[in-house]
Amino acid sequence: MSADQSEGPLAGVPAEPGVGKPDAILVADGVIRRFGGLTAVEVDHLEVQRGVITALIGPNGAGKTTFFNLVTAFDHPDTGQFVFDGRPLGRLPAHKVARRGMVRTFQLTKALSRLTVLDNMKLGATGQRGERFLPALLPLLWREQDREIEQRALDLLARFQLDKMAGEFAGTLSGGQRKLLEMARALMVEPKMVLLDEPMAGVNPVLTQSLLTHVRDLRDLGMTVLFVEHDMDVVYDISDWVVVMAEGRIIAEGPPRVIGANPAVIDAYLGAHHDAPTTDAEEQRRLDDAEAVIEAEAGARPKGRR
């Protein structure tokens, strides 16, 4: 990839917030979400290009996860709307958004602990006849389909090197394996677009490489990927386009190298009074520092009780 210019479908697209894309699969328009007095998300316009990997970055509290929730209908905006694959999402419930072909993962992995790895996978398949109450009572009606699903699940598990674990409870998997499982499970839905919320968080470096490969594979299989990530190396490494959020707004977007040099982005992360970092390593260190502080605050934020 060149230093300041994007290649492929996004070649020639100017690096400015809200810029139009040649073939947008997801369009957000005037999306605002408030919690009490706090405006968590305020996105005037955002387009996500089909078939590429887009990274969503920004300091914690920038509204990235809230934005994810809004896109996937786990939460609804106060105003504004999303258009996915040419059709407005309106107030569609989350499960219908997923069935339209937009599947997400979660920041805290949601492996279904007391289901086997294989069952976790098979759950992801859509249009299962045996998921209706009455047909479920007659295995004859769904056994054939179930077998096909199982085969597809096993193939995917093999690709993610989880096939040996197929019969184990998902709760026995390590943190990294759970991330893999969650990604593989999302693929069972056969999505057009995958949203990954911090796919590399808490994963050891060895597994990170493997995860990165899988994310690239998704794009090569024709899927669109939008992911939230903090590790700038990862972002530079695999993303084709980067969107930067701060305080709920989109403050910049563009190819990774352009974004890395954008003073507004550096300000957002480090505060306006810092000098621009001299080296990548220096920047990384500062980002890590900033993040540690933000993380500590986030840990103290109220969590939904359940």
Binding site: P93, V103, L115, D119
Partner: protein
């Protein structure tokens, strides 16, 4: 103390009508709580609408008892919808509060003086199940072997009751191995994950509530038919708590858990009841400490204590695998 008689009674209790009733009630709870993770604390409400469905249909509306069964089943579905609509989108503990409140509403309504004409008020209704006994294929006499000898009427009730338990258990077995059951279990584990995979969580919870509720109303049928009476205060919240003990004792999310749990539960209750009664009668326990009336109260204390001890020390039930429960701590 007549140990032979006491043991015989305990064995009979393990296969008696109450064991069957609570097995059914707990199977319903297993669908709710064990498989879907729904905290239904109003299972007795489903039993009550089932039982009163028959009783009112026969005595007030003058319908056939068989139509009454349909009325009871219909009523339990309606109850599930009424309960589920407002609460299934909310946190689990809200469902617990609402269901326990709903069961209480049902009991108070059935026992209210203003509905006396339909429900018989606090005295309830009786003699509505003659049709059931009329189709008894067994001729007059006693049936069974060893301690398990019952009159032809009891035998008929027990055969039908346990057959119902068997059929329902097989249904649950098939369902929980199907993709439908897989969705329920995924909701128990993490409903947001299920939603993110395109499952209509709300609708599945509703189906689970209705299906388990229908099984609960079957328990109400068996109880009403076996005693030929319905009384509102039979259907107090304590019944739901009993069913929870039965379920957790046998092990949640196991098809046979509730059945085994119920048999053991009633055997243990019969044992303690009879031993205490005999001890009081024969003066082993001074009257100042325990009277005959108080023996009945000890039962409730034991159930409460059992619930605490089971959850603190063996939440996987007596046969369960501890490791599986530990996976729950995420």
């Amino acid at each position: 103390m007549n140990w032979g008689g006491i043991v015989e009674n305990a064995l009979r209790a393990a296969v008696g009508d109450f064991a069957a009733v609570f097995a059914l009630a707990a199977i319903g709870l297993n669908v709710h709580f064990g498989y879907t993770g729904l905290l239904n604390f109003g299972q007795v409400g489903f039993m009550a609408v089932g039982a009163y469905g028959i009783a009112v249909a026969v005595t007030y509306l003058g319908l056939s008892m068989w139509v009454g069964l349909a009325v009871g089943l219909g009523a339990s579905v309606v109850l599930a919808l009424l309960l589920g609509l407002p609460t299934l989108r909310l946190r689990a503990d809200y469902l617990a509060i609402v269901t326990i409140a709903a069961a209480e509403i049902i009991r108070l309504t059935f026992r209210s003086v203003s509905l006396r004409r339909y429900t018989g008020g606090s005295s309830g209704l009786t003699r509505f199940a003659d049709e059931f006994y009329a189709v008894n294929p067994l001729s007059r006499g006693d049936y069974g072997f060893g301690p398990f000898v019952f009159s032809h009427r009891q035998t008929w009730v027990l055969v039908v009751a346990w057959l119902t338990v068997a059929v329902v258990s097989v249904m649950v077995l098939v369902l929980m191995r199907s993709p439908w059951g897989r969705v329920l279990k995924s909701i128990r584990e993490d409903e947001e994950a299920a939603r993110s995979l395109g499952k209509n969580v709300y609708w599945y919870k509703m189906q689970s509530l209705a299906f388990g509720g229908i099984i609960g109303s079957l328990a109400g049928f068996v109880l009403a038919i076996s005693t030929q009476s319905v009384q509102p205060d039979t259907y107090s919240s304590a019944v739901t708590f009993f069913a929870y003990v039965v379920l957790i004792l046998g092990g949640t999310a196991r098809v046979l858990g509730p059945v085994v749990g119920s048999m053991i539960f009633w055997m243990l209750l019969s044992l303690t009841d009879n031993v205490l009664r005999a001890a009081v009668r024969e003066g082993h326990i001074p009257a100042a400490i325990m009277s005959g009336v108080q023996v009945g109260q000890v039962r409730f204390m034991l159930v409460g204590l059992g619930l605490i001890l089971l959850l603190v020390y063996r939440s996987q039930g007596i046969f369960g695998d501890r490791r599986e429960i530990e996976l729950d701590v995420r």
